[in-house]
């Protein structure tokens, strides 16, 4: 397992956000933390990133316990829900930020930024500011910025929530393809099961701070482990979607 959470507990002002959370994500996999709002999925993501600290339990990344390591030294890239692009910097400066902090050479930074702009097909938009971009473009920049320092693990918090429904499907496909191409282990948080089904290899279902089930989209649909999962997952929707996907495939 590349990422392993062992018996994590976390309380905020008496509210138990994580209750004995244990799960693992394999190297190269794309996992979704799926659950209703308030189920503790974002807290899990923030603890992996080092933005919040667990009260107890171990967070392992690549076989090393990282609980006491600051987020900046865990080799992660993070895409925030509203992208958190630096609004007073251009697209290129946003992407370059992490590399500049690491005091990389000017030339190296420029090459890497150009490479990433090409990856997200925004070569000509490097001089724009975030407010001059569409929602989808902002997401792509956030993605490129997170990838710039070559992290080993990519964390995405509700990556499609801020995008209107029409573009969302398109971006989902795009992101899945990009993550596949870069080959980076990724975990994303979502409350939308269709999104999780379509994008993830593994789905981790959370409810009231607990992990309800871990499995492939198919396994979760056909063999729900708890009452909550069978109620939460809409099997008909999954099957309609699976049929659509296979017809696309042929």
């Amino acid at each position: 397992m590349y990422v392993q959470m062992e018996h994590i507990n976390k309380t905020f002002d008496g509210f138990q956000a994580s209750n004995d959370v244990t799960f693992g994500v394999e190297k190269g996999h794309l996992a979704a933390l799926l659950g209703p709002s308030g189920s503790g999925k974002t807290t899990i993501l923030r603890m992996i990133a080092g933005l919040d600290k667990p009260d107890s339990g171990d967070i392992m990344i690549d076989g090393m316990r990282v609980n006491d390591l600051p987020g900046s030294r865990r080799g992660i890239g993070f895409v925030f829900q509203n992208y958190a692009l630096f609004r007073y910097m251009t697209v290129a400066d946003n992407i370059a930020f992490g590399l500049e902090v690491q005091k990389k050479g000017k030339k190296e930074i420029r090459t890497r930024v150009e490479e990433l702009l090409e990856l997200i097909s925004m070569q000509d938009l490097g001089k724009r500011y975030p407010h001059q971009l569409s929602g989808g473009q902002r997401q792509r920049v956030a993605f490129a910025r997170a990838l710039a320092p070559n992290p080993q693990l990519l964390l995405l918090d509700e990556p499609f929530a801020a995008i209107d429904a029409k573009v969302r499907r398109e971006l989902r496909t795009w992101l899945k393809e990009m993550i596949g191409r870069v080959g980076i282990t990724s975990i994303f948080v979502t409350h939308d099961q269709e999104e999780a089904m379509e994008v993830a290899d593994t789905i981790i279902i959370t409810n009231q701070g607990r992990i309800e089930q871990i499995g492939t989209p198919e396994a979760i649909c056909h063999h729900p482990a708890t009452d909550f999962v069978s109620e939460f997952v809409d099997v008909e929707r999954y099957e309609a979607f699976a049929a659509l996907a296979s017809s696309h495939g042929s």
């Binding site: 900046s72 958190a84 609004r87 910097m89």
Partner: protein
């Protein structure tokens, strides 16, 4: 197919919605709107004229009543110049101190969560809710001869009450919340995602502050500084209590105006007032420019 149908349905709703809104608005804006608007503008203009323009005009007219020479004499008077110097010195010091503390406080309270931050935010607002006269008295009771720290200060030869440090201290106290109050909502609304993103990339707090927080707050900061300066220049109550009105020593411009007025030296009082009016107008211009840039 299903998607397409859904879209037309949405458009219908939007279309109807706009029509409905227009239907409701039309009679309102056409019939009574104009009358109400003219009436409100009239009331505002009248109010501004009576409350602001007229008094300011009176200041200028009275200042020049005995001719340009008398005005010049009053303005160039030794004590007036000293008072102006002290006022400017006090204002600059107060602004500098409150800018530093205001920026730190706003950064701390908007970007970090800790126990008691609500209490700290409320404490910063105390000068807004306390009468300046009381603020002056508090300093006398703390630092005066019979005060709390009186013996200690005396033993070390430090004079605060009835001296320049007291004037500065009182002004700092009264103008304390201005910079913080301007910055805090701006930084709070920004959230801390950008800071967290930068921290995750390994940026230190100073880099984060310089590259992310500061660019976001610079216009609000300038605005706060201007408001703080305006208040510091005009502060009367607290300074009046603590300064002791020593001419040429602890007299600020507002205090000087009062002294001249009480001596029935009306022309001089208005002449000195006109300096404050000019400073106020300059600040108003600066404020307008900043507001225009901020938008």
């Amino acid at each position: 197919m299903a998607q397409k149908r859904q879209r037309t349905y949405q458009q219908d709703i939007v279309g109807d919605g706009i029509l409905a809104v227009q239907k409701v608005r039309e009679p309102h804006t056409e019939a009574s709107g104009k009358g109400i608007r003219c009436g409100l503008i009239g009331i505002c203009a009248l109010f501004l004229f009576v409350m602001l323009v007229l008094p300011l005009a009176v200041v200028v007219i009275n200042a020049l009543r005995d001719g340009w020479a008398a005005y010049q004499e009053a303005v160039m008077d030794e004590y007036t110049v000293r008072a102006l110097q002290l006022t400017l010195f006090t204002a600059v010091t107060a602004v500098a101190v409150n800018t530093v503390f205001g920026v730190f406080a706003a950064f701390l309270l908007s970007k970090f969560y800790f126990r008691g931050r609500q209490i700290l935010a409320a404490l910063i607002d105390i000068p807004f809710s306390i009468s300046p006269v009381i603020a002056g008295l508090v300093f006398i009771l703390t630092f005066g001869n019979v005060g709390w720290m009186g013996d200690f200060l005396k033993a070390h030869g430090i004079r605060i009450v009835f001296a320049v440090p007291g004037v500065v201290l009182a002004t700092v106290f009264v103008t304390f919340p201005f910079v913080f109050r301007e910055l805090f909502p701006v930084l709070n609304a920004q959230g801390k995602d950008e800071e967290e993103a930068a921290a995750l990339m390994g940026a230190g707090w100073f880099t984060i502050f310089r590259k992310i927080t500061f660019p976001h707050m610079k216009w609000a900061l300038l605005y706060g500084v201007i408001l703080c300066a305006a208040r510091a220049l005009g502060e009367f109550g607290a300074v009046s209590v603590i300064s002791g009105h020593l001419r040429g020593k602890t007299n600020t411009l507002p205090l000087h105006v009062e002294i001249l007025y009480n001596e029935f030296n009306t022309t001089a009082a208005f002449a000195v007032s006109s300096i404050l009016v000019i400073l106020a107008v300059l600040i108003l211009i600066a404020r307008t420019i900043v507001e225009w840039k901020k938008a």
